[in-house]
Point group: C2
Chain length 324, copies 2
């Protein structure tokens, strides 16, 4: 099942069900007005949404044409946005870029940060950049949207709390990060609003590509019209289930919490990059200094994931950087 | 105007207006079903809520008796919980406690962290502590609830975005903090669910005590039945307006965002403490080692703020620590 949120002038938009080929949608307002509302009442709502989805896929309901520009993020605002950093190749490279050591517990203790979740960007929303000196970068990621999660949940029991999957562009302001992390309280100004893919998919929609808490498909990033990366998102060191156990150690989470993988990154250089910081670090290793600049107004970034048949699963994040 | 959220079995509770003497409330469901909904439509809703509040205060509406145990946090879940650390005496003491230096920019660049906001505790909810070795502590704070905040707002324009004030107990797990901050991504496991005061007050309700983005009244903390602190919350180094300018530098905030002062702390030792970490640091300075243990099951903490006449403004946070 594929879900999306249509812009309708309200803060949270209107829930719609999308046909498997991404071409048409059916309004779901009679089942649940918003995706947050559906996640709040998932057990009751899910069978009804699946019924509508089945009718749409079997062409028993005609649907209305999907225009991705009219879609919000699946959750235009969420109660929490927790982002892991589960691709260790990424952690090693970006820390090298800022002359910081990876933590000693890198392989045993997941890195996560608490992100801002009150204002999330839709798949075609501009990235507003007030100052190019901030060093604006994209980060292509996979995320899960959670149901209610009790404190203390274990990885082996985590699958039941995963409701939906989405893609994200975790926009980062690289040049603000070193000073901010030096203060000891984590990212804040250096993480502006995150953008999300048009469609949110239930795990079953991904077939065998979703297994053991990892999504085993390449995540494609196109920067200024050129593909710069296509790494396998299945190379996560910590699975989403392990991340969930980690974050739930000392507190519970409400339905609709977004949990991210961190920047998808493979040890195999031929798979390319999912953020410019990695590119710049590789350039520094090879030539002594970074060559690729960070993003500037006019730049575009596109992120999507294709299935084995080349169909876009989540639709395409397609953003442009705009200045003041 | 005083607002509160009644437990009614729903996730977000029911909005009520509370009489100035905290004794009775009137349901506000016909005006706005929840506090979040009221904050989403504040310009339209505020005059109606004030009308009801006036009737209640003038005894034109009788109201129902307030039972604080039946109240949620004013926002049982919020879209963001951003906590400053604007009392520099606190920053200096707790960093000394963990042998960490305060940042060089302590007096010019505010410290803030992004907290978990999906599960917030009501004023009388238990603090569930799975492991006493985590070093459970309270932190008594003042917070503002914001309206919509555009990116780039300046301190001089910030007053208009402050909708309500509340008190908070920013529960902290002290013994998890050093290892977590060493990883560089800020607090996560070390900050479990935060608790909030029964009542949320509009700024005008505080009279001249609310000025220039600071609340100039003592914040009282009672630990296991004994008053341990009564420091002046007006001693904030950075005002709420300055904190707001800081957090809005690179992104916007949605209505209902909670912004905290950090642990209220005065340079004058006679004013006592608002967290055990400060007490333990003072003991270490005086005697070479901490004497006061962190909280254990059965301990209680109460937090409230009295006005000049001794009336409780926000009602009392009154929590008990419970184990497994």
């Amino acid at each position: 099942m594929k879900l999306a949120t249509l812009r309708d002038g309200s803060r949270d938009g209107a829930l719609v069900v999308v046909r498997q080929d991404n071409a048409v949608y059916a309004p779901a307002r009679d089942i649940a007005p918003t995706l947050q509302n559906a996640l709040d009442r998932w057990d009751e709502v899910e069978p009804k949404l699946r019924g509508l989805s089945d009718k749409l896929n079997q062409r028993q309901v005609s649907g209305l044409p999907v225009d991705v520009r009219k879609l919000h993020a699946p959750l235009p605002r969420a109660y929490e946005w927790v982002d892991g950093s589960a691709f260790l190749n990424h952690v090693r490279l970006v820390r090298k870029a800022r002359n910081a050591e990876p933590p000693a517990t890198l392989e045993t203790d997941p890195l996560v940060y608490q992100g801002g979740s009150g204002v999330l960007l839709g798949p075609t929303d501009d990235i507003f950049l007030a100052d190019t000196a901030w060093g604006c970068d994209f980060e292509s990621e996979v995320c899960v949207l959670l149901g209610d999660v009790p404190q203390g949940v274990k990885a082996r029991d985590a699958a039941r709390h995963v409701r939906l999957l989405v893609l994200a562009n975790d926009v980062s302001l690289r040049n603000l990060i070193p000073d901010e992390l030096a203060k000891g309280f984590g990212f804040f100004q250096s993480k502006p609003a995150t953008a999300f893919s048009p469609f949110a998919l239930t795990p079953d929609e991904l077939g065998p590509a979703w297994r053991e808490g990892r999504l085993h498909l390449p995540l494609r990033t196109i920067y200024n019209g050129k593909q710069v990366g296509n790494p396998d998102a299945g190379e996560m060191h910590f699975s989403f289930f392990e991340l969930l156990q980690h974050i739930a150690k000392t507190r519970a989470f409400t339905a609709g919490t977004v949990l991210g993988s961190g920047t998808v990154s493979n040890a195999d250089r031929a798979r390319g990059i999912s953020c410019l910081a990695e590119q710049r670090t590789l350039e520094t290793i090879d030539t002594g200094k970074p060559v690729t600049p960070f993003m500037k107004p006019g730049d575009t970034v596109e992120i999507e994931m294709l299935d084995a048949e080349g169909k876009s699963l989540f639709g395409r994040i397609s953003q442009r950087v705009v200045g003041t």
